[in-house]
Each structure stands twice: as structure tokens, then as C-alpha cells.
């Protein structure tokens, strides 16, 4: 015994024994692993956001021909009575000619002339959507006919792409939809100040456009559709989810039945979302007869999907409230319900709200079930205001992204990335709201 203590005292504290050295090395290694993992995560995030921003920022800028257009009365209102019913018989083709004339006039005013410029290059410069937009504008205000008005005319997606670096003169050589001459004309027009690139508000407000008109496509209906679905989810899943959690956590007896319910709720959270889509298709559309592509159906399906998330997070929040608070309330003679609603629920509120908002954010980004209930349809008509609008066809942001990535024109890739940016901004806002609410409510002890 004495020998041992003598032996131990011989080792100086300045010497690190092998065991300690091994321990320190292991700790150092572990820290390095952690730092590496975080670095990889940060790099992945930067790459992801960087790529999306690079590809998608173009969607928020749009090239227009900003030129005076003479709205010739003989072409647009042959009868001359400015009657919208009569005027609506004039097709977009006539408006296309009006725009072509305006472009001709603008080109004629230029100093430089482009060699080998064909008629097709000239007319192809203008987007096919532009004449339809002009027609809508004139039909809305027939008095414009006969006047010369300044119009921002959408240009073809290729020309738009040229100013965003997506199209070059070399690629135009091989492209049947554009030509180097057309691009040179575009350069010349840009120099003259006729061709301008500015912020693309229409991307946020416009409906989707057909395959040939990427320059006119917007996420307006998709945003509205997603918003309507979130309203449905909020109004259904929060009350149902919170009520179910409170009952299960605070009131339900702990027996085999509640155990089975608990396990199944957890399982429900793990069910692939497309299964909920099939369920929605079978129950809400085929059985209940609700319309396809409608936000109400999307909202109901997403409610089913969000419920387990909300129930699980709410129960966790309720469980985190110290039992001593329940005892205290019961101890002064509060009923079970008073103890829950006066004391437990307010304390669990930040957790419940965070869980709910994260559940909603998850629902906002969900695509698969919406494909099955027809939200992928091509919708041009804006849905009405809720509640009727909930039954009108609409799209949804993630579905719109999916839809656009399916299309051949590379301009749609830019639109899809732009829509992703909008979706991410919404998600970011929801997460910020969750953080804000948590902070705000936690400040009240």
C-alpha cells in the first residue's frame, strides 16, 4: 500500500501519461470530425443557395421592347363603334401585326442596319404573349384605339435569355428559334434604348404560360393556390391537432387503446406523402366528389399530412411543461381542465406554435400528393376569393416548380429556380415567424 502511493507520487504532473495522451488525441479527433461535418453542411448549403440564386435571379428580370405602338382603328375596330363585343371578334393576330408595325417603325429609326435580317427575325423578336397582353389591355379600355400608346412589349424568351447570358451568338447559330442576326438586332435596339431589362413584377403576379412562352410565365396562381391551401391547413389541422394532443396527453387514460393510437400517430408521420395523395384522390375527389385541382382538396390532403407533425410537437411541448405546475394548480383546487388551459397550455404555447409553423412549412413545400389530386394542371384563370375560390382550380408553388422543370425550353429552368427562390423566401419567413413567436412568448416567463 505504501509502495503504491510512493510509486504514484513519483510521476510528475508535468508529464502526460500515455492514457491521458490517448484520451486527448481522441477528443481532438472528435472535434475535427465535428468541424468537418459542419464544413460539409455549410458548403452544401452555400452551393445549393448559390446555384438557385444564380439560375433563378434571372426570373426576376425581364427584357421588354419599350416603344410607342399606334393602335390603328381600322385593324383593331373595323366597325368603328368601340363596342367591346364587336372588338373582341378581332383576334390576337391583328394585334400581332400592330406590334410588328411598331417594331418596324422602331427599327427604321435606328442608325445601324443589320445585314441579312429576315422577316422572321423581326417578327420573332416579339413574344407570342405580347399581342395577347395588348389585346387584353385594349379590350379593357376601348378608348385607346386610334391613339399611340407606350407599351412594354415582352420579347421572345431567346432574346431575353441573350441579355441574361443564357443564349449566345454561337448557340443561336444552331437554334432554329433565333439567329445571330436577330441577336444583333436586339443589341442595336438595346443600344437605342428601345430594348430594356427591368424588374419582372409579372413573374410574381402572372399565371403560368404555355410551353412556347416562358417569358410570360409567372407564379401568381401558384402563390395564391399555396396560400389557399395553407389557410385550409391552418384552420383544420391546428384546432384538431392541438385538441387531440391535449386530450391524449392530459386527459386520456393510459391504456392499450391510447397506446395503439399513439403508435399509429407516430407511424402516420412516417407515411410517404404520396400515399396521402392517393387517399385524397380516393376519398375527397372520387368519393366526396370535390373538384379536382382545387385548393380545398389540396388543403385537406395536406391537413392529414400535417396533423401527425402538429400532434407530435404539441405533445412534446405539453410534456416539457414541468409536472410541478400541474400539481400546483390541482393543489389549489383547480380542475383538470383549468390546470391545462390556465397553466399548461400557455407554457406549452411557444413549442406548439413552433411545431405548427414548421408543420405548415413542410406542407407548403409538399409536391407529391398534390400531383395526384390534379394540382399539376395548367391553370390560366385566377381562383376567386375564398371561400368560393377554394373550389376553383389552382396550382401550387412546388408543383409549379416541378411542372416547369418538365418543360423543354431552358427559359423554364430559370423560371423554376425563380419559383424556388419565392418558395424559399416564404419558408424563411415562416421560420422567422416561428422564432419570433417563440421569443415573444418566452419573454413572458
Amino acid at each position: 500500500m505504501t509502495d503504491m502511493s510512493n510509486h504514484a507520487s513519483r510521476i510528475s504532473l508535468f508529464e502526460v501519461d500515455p492514457r491521458t495522451r490517448r484520451r486527448n488525441a481522441a477528443e481532438k479527433r472528435f472535434r475535427a470530425y465535428g468541424a468537418t461535418a459542419i464544413c460539409i453542411a455549410v458548403i452544401a448549403l452555400v452551393l445549393l443557395v448559390g446555384t438557385i440564386l444564380r439560375d433563378g435571379s434571372g426570373a426576376f428580370r425581364q427584357t421588354y421592347l419599350s416603344m410607342p405602338v399606334a393602335l390603328s382603328a381600322e385593324k383593331l375596330d373595323p366597325k368603328g363603334n368601340r363596342d367591346p363585343a364587336e372588338m373582341s371578334k378581332v383576334l390576337t393576330l391583328a394585334y400581332g401585326r400592330v406590334l410588328d408595325d411598331a417594331l418596324d417603325a422602331a427599327v427604321a429609326q435606328m442608325d445601324t442596319q443589320i445585314e441579312g435580317l429576315s422577316e422572321k427575325d423581326m417578327t420573332g423578336l416579339v413574344s407570342k404573349e405580347a399581342s395577347a397582353q395588348l389585346r387584353d389591355r385594349v379590350l379593357a379600355d376601348p378608348e385607346l384605339v386610334g391613339q399611340t400608346v407606350d407599351v412594354n412589349v415582352l420579347v421572345n424568351g431567346r432574346i431575353d435569355g441573350y441579355f441574361k447570358g443564357r443564349v449566345s451568338k454561337e448557340s443561336a447559330e444552331r437554334d432554329s428559334n433565333t439567329s445571330p442576326q436577330q441577336l444583333m438586332l436586339a443589341d442595336a435596339l438595346a443600344e437605342d434604348g428601345v430594348l430594356v431589362t427591368r424588374f419582372n413584377r409579372e413573374f410574381i403576379t402572372n399565371p403560368d404560360a404555355s410551353d412556347q412562352r416562358p417569358e410570360a410565365a409567372g407564379v401568381g396562381i401558384a402563390i395564391l393556390g399555396s396560400l389557399y391551401m395553407m389557410l385550409v391547413v391552418l384552420f383544420l389541422s391546428v384546432p384538431i391537432g392541438v385538441a387531440a394532443s391535449i386530450y391524449l396527453e392530459e386527459f386520456a387514460p393510459k391504456n392499450r387503446l391510447t397506446d395503439i393510437i399513439e403508435v399509429n400517430i407516430s407511424n402516420l408521420a412516417a407515411v410517404p406523402s404520396i400515399v396521402f395523395g392517393i387517399l385524397g384522390l380516393a376519398v375527397f375527389i372520387n368519393f366526396a366528389g370535390l373538384p379536382q385541382s382545387a385548393p380545398i382538396v389540396g388543403g385537406l390532403v395536406l391537413t392529414l399530412m400535417t396533423l401527425p407533425t402538429i400532434i407530435i410537437s404539441t405533445r412534446a411541448a405539453l410534456k416539457a411543461v414541468p409536472p410541478s405546475i400541474r400539481d400546483a394548480a390541482l393543489g389549489v383546487g383547480a380542475s383538470k381542465m383549468q390546470s391545462v388551459f390556465h397553466h399548461v397550455l400557455p407554457l406549452a404555447m411557444p413549442g406548439i406554435m413552433t411545431g405548427t409553423i414548421l408543420g405548415l412549412a413542410q406542407a407548403l413545400g409538399e409536391t407529391a400528393p398534390l400531383l395526384l389530386i390534379g394540382m399539376v394542371a395548367f391553370v390560366r384563370e385566377f381562383p376567386a376569393a375564398p371561400p368560393e375560390g377554394l373550389f376553383d382550380p389552382a396550382s401550387a408553388l412546388p408543383v409549379q416548380v416541378y411542372n416547369w422543370t418538365q418543360r423543354s425550353d431552358p427559359a423554364f429552368v430559370e423560371r423554376a429556380s425563380g419559383a424556388i427562390i419565392i418558395l424559399l423566401i416564404f419558408l424563411l419567413c415562416m421560420n422567422l415567424l416561428a422564432i419570433f413567436l417563440r421569443r415573444k412568448f418566452e419573454r413572458r416567463w
Binding site: P253, K254, P322, S324, I325, R326, D327, A328, A329, L330, G331, V332, G333, A334, S335, Q338, H342, H343, L347, R444, W445
Partner: protein, 265 residues
């Protein structure tokens, strides 16, 4: 001191407030309380002592039916308060708990203001008809808990911001505010420092004038200091019950003697 306690206990020989007959408590398969019979007097401090896990807290929680909240707990026998069996089907446990206040081991003020903490009970039981009456009850309760002078200027600050001893006295004030007839205290001083403990003990002695106080404690010194009657629990049995002086000076059971002399527990 010896003499004074003896006279005090002599004075408080009066009505039986709580009487327990053949009380059995089961937690699932576990028989936690075995056939306890005890009579607790009004306007007296009764201490429950015994080693950990002996069932003293369990029995205390039977008196205001807090064990009802535990699903697996099953109680047999009868506990009468002023002659009424509290486990009778007609008794509403919520109403009972307003009459039998409880103070817990760990100070557990609500995360609300000091005022709201005390006012909560009177509010839910409708004890005050208006704001002035409520103010009066709160002041009276805080005075009763010897806390008024310390908090009167900050009634609207959070109760959780007080020190441990103050929090526990706030919990006592909260329990007192519903005008209970019995006050149950489950190791009220175990989370407190000696000074705070002293204040709470002094308070318990004052509270005795108004109601029957039952206190569970780990500290035999505390039981000796504050109580007139002491019950010794061991392994779910009530081993010995009697005047505090007798229990500590001439215990009749060998287990009691072993415990108070520090050989078991």
C-alpha cells in the same frame, strides 16, 4: 422549550380533523401503504417522518386525493375529514383540494406575477366578489405567509423571480388564500437553505393557530421543532404515532428508536 411544547400540545387536545381507517394504497402491484390508521387533530402540526420510500408522502397525497392523478394508484379504506369520507363517490376532488391545501417539496410558483399566484385560487373558487376583496385576500394571505413586507412593492413582478425561500412562502400564501381547513406540506424545506427553513418553520407554527397542518419531513430535528404530533412510517406501515416528545424521547417501537438514533433510514 420542552415544557412549552408539552403545554402547547396539551392545549391542542381537541377535535379530530382527519381520521384514516385501514388505508391501503397500491401502485400497480406494489403495496405502498399498508393498513394505516391515524387520527390527526385540528389546529395541530403533525409530522410524518421515516426513511425514503416509506410511504409518508404517498399517505399525505391521499389526504387531498392528489394520488387520483396517478393512473396506477389504487386506494382502499377510508379517510374522513370532519366525518365525511373523502373517497365517497359524492365527493368532488376539485372541491376537496380547495379545503385541503398543499405545499410541495420544490417551490412551484406559477410563471405569473406574485399577485396572480396568490389570487389564482380565490379567483377560480369565486371567493372574491370584486377587485377590492381580492386585493384584501392577497394581502392577508401574503401577510399570513410572512411575505407581505418583502413583496408589497412588487406584486406584479414574476413569482419565479423570488428567492427559493420566498418562492416557498409564496406557495404557502397561495395555499392559504383559498381558506383551507387543512394544510398539507410535502417536505417544504428540503430545497431551502437554513435561514429560509427557519422562516418557513416559524410560519408553520403560526399557521397552526388557524388550521391543522400535516408536514412530511426528512429532518427529525425539524419534526421535533415544529410538530406536536409525530407519525413514524416504515416500509408502508405506520409504526408509531404519538406526541412528538414521546416519539423522540421514549419511542415504544424498536424500529422508531433505530430510526431516530440514526441506525436505519
Amino acid at each position: 422549550m420542552y415544557d412549552t411544547t408539552r403545554t402547547e400540545s396539551a392545549v391542542s387536545q381537541q377535535d379530530i380533523k382527519i381520521s384514516a381507517r385501514n388505508v391501503q394504497v397500491y401502485y400497480g402491484e406494489k403495496h405502498a401503504i399498508k393498513d394505516v390508521n391515524v387520527e390527526i387533530l385540528d389546529k395541530t402540526v403533525t409530522a410524518f417522518i421515516g426513511p425514503s420510500g416509506c410511504g409518508k408522502s404517498t399517505f399525505l397525497r391521499c389526504i387531498n386525493r392528489m394520488n387520483d392523478t396517478i393512473d396506477i394508484a389504487r386506494i382502499e379504506g377510508e379517510i374522513r375529514i370532519d366525518g365525511d369520507d373523502i373517497y365517497d363517490r359524492r365527493v368532488d376532488p376539485v372541491q376537496l383540494r380547495a379545503k385541503v391545501g398543499m405545499v410541495f417539496q420544490k417551490p412551484n410558483p406559477f410563471p405569473k406575477s406574485i399577485f396572480d399566484n396568490v389570487a389564482y385560487g380565490p379567483r377560480i373558487h369565486g371567493l372574491a366578489r370584486n377587485k377590492a376583496e381580492l386585493d384584501e385576500i392577497v394581502e392577508k394571505s401574503l401577510r399570513g405567509a410572512a411575505l407581505w413586507s418583502e413583496v408589497k412593492d412588487r406584486l406584479h413582478e414574476p413569482g419565479t423571480g423570488l428567492s427559493g425561500g420566498q418562492q416557498q412562502r409564496l406557495c404557502i400564501a397561495r395555499a392559504v388564500a383559498t381558506a383551507p381547513e387543512v394544510l398539507l406540506m410535502d417536505e417544504p424545506c428540503s430545497a431551502l437553505d437554513p435561514i429560509a427553513t427557519g422562516q418557513v418553520e416559524e410560519l408553520i407554527d403560526q399557521l397552526r393557530e388557524q388550521f391543522s397542518v400535516v408536514i412530511v419531513t426528512h429532518s427529525m430535528q425539524q419534526a421535533a421543532r415544529v410538530s406536536q404530533k409525530t407519525a413514524f412510517f416504515h416500509l408502508g406501515n405506520l409504526v408509531e404515532y404519538g406526541d412528538t416528545d414521546d416519539i423522540f424521547t421514549k419511542p415504544s417501537d424498536s424500529r422508531t428508536e433505530a430510526y431516530i438514533s440514526g441506525r436505519i433510514g
